[in-house]
């Protein structure tokens, strides 16, 4: 039986521990070290989980778009797998960002969904767009075309995100202070440390989960090709999958 170490590799183990440590430290700092923010009071603490989630989600989508461009240029299925995993991962983080965002809205403005908060609204639109990535992949049979069309979608959606932010920001005249852009650096000392630690922790978490999923997809691909070589039909998980099929080189 291949030991877990070989299947997942030592680096992944270290990465996981690092992610847990830094994220834990970030949240601890946020809870105990960072002062209560004068204007929004205690509810500002959600800021330390909501904003890193949002930022990491956006970076994930951008990374998905970039590896999609690489796939279109090179045709190497590994890029397609990276793009697929990155977008799949970012979608989950986006759900997290939306839920914590609505909790934040409830905490500081009293109702679950606030249409005045442009970033929150833009995230909802981006989520609705990227949620179609999976159905799109699933509805194309030919694996090679599936990868190509998914890559085109990832590039188009990647370019859409910034425009969407501009459009929504234009639509909502800002009336209340937006803590998000304060992350640009004018946060007081302690808060900034807590925020950046949580941000780094969240990024590490994303990379860890990303590599976990890549490893498991590779393993599944290798298993499938071993089975095919054995001419085994009994327990092969047939049927169409939206995940890219990579033939292990």
């Amino acid at each position: 039986m291949p030991t877990t170490r070989k299947l997942y590799g030592t680096r992944l183990m270290l990465l996981s521990w690092a992610a847990v440590a830094v994220l834990g430290a970030g949240f601890a700092l946020a809870a105990f070290y960072a002062p209560i923010e004068a204007d929004q009071g205690f509810s500002q603490k959600i800021f330390y989980v909501h904003v890193p989630l949002a930022i990491v989600t956006l970076c994930g989508f951008v990374f998905g778009g970039v590896s999609a461009i690489q796939y279109l240029r090179s045709g190497d299925p590994r890029h397609d797998l990276r793009s697929y995993t990155a977008i799949h991962q970012s979608l989950i983080f986006c759900v997290g960002a939306l839920i914590t965002g609505s909790l934040w809205a409830k905490a500081s403005w009293g109702q679950w969904w606030v249409w005045d908060e442009p970033t929150l609204v833009s995230f909802l639109i981006v989520f609705l767009l990227y949620a179609t990535y999976q159905p799109l992949r699933f509805s194309i049979e030919d694996p090679e075309r599936q990868s190509r069309y998914a890559a085109v979608f990832a590039v188009v959606a990647g370019a859409f995100v910034p425009i969407n932010f501009i459009a929504v920001r234009l639509a909502d005249p800002l009336i209340h202070p937006r803590v998000l852009n304060q992350a640009g650096g004018d946060l007081p000392g302690e808060m900034r440390i807590a925020f950046y630690t949580s941000l780094v922790g969240m990024a590490l978490l994303f990379v860890t989960l990303y590599r976990f999923e890549m490893a498991s997809k590779h393993a599944r691909a290798q298993l499938k090709s071993i089975k095919r070589r054995l001419g085994e039909h009994a327990t092969s998980t047939g049927g169409r999958s939206a995940a890219p099929r990579i033939t292990p080189s």
Binding site: G41, V95, L103, A107, A219, I226
Partner: protein, 79 residues
């Protein structure tokens, strides 16, 4: 943090809990997927061991060879 949590403190806790829950669900899904993977690997390994003694790579005969494969099977099942 000695004073009582302010009235909307509950939501802050909820936010962190939701994040944690999301993480745990994701890890759980990954775990089941890894489990299924290992089970399939186990099956494949049995097959390789069972017909490893027979002619290499040809389709498996249902009856299995009478010779060495038979002796190896019991030991294989002990693992």
């Amino acid at each position: 943090m000695t004073d009582k949590l302010p009235e909307n403190g509950g939501y802050v806790a909820a936010a962190y809990l939701v994040f944690l829950a999301l993480l745990l669900i994701y890890v759980a899904i990954m775990a089941t997927r890894a489990g299924r993977l290992e089970r399939e690997l186990g099956d494949v390994l049995d097959i390789v061991q069972r017909d490893g003694a027979g002619e290499p790579g040809a389709g498996r005969q249902a009856t299995g060879g009478s010779g060495p494969a038979e002796q190896r099977a019991p030991r294989g099942s002990e693992q």
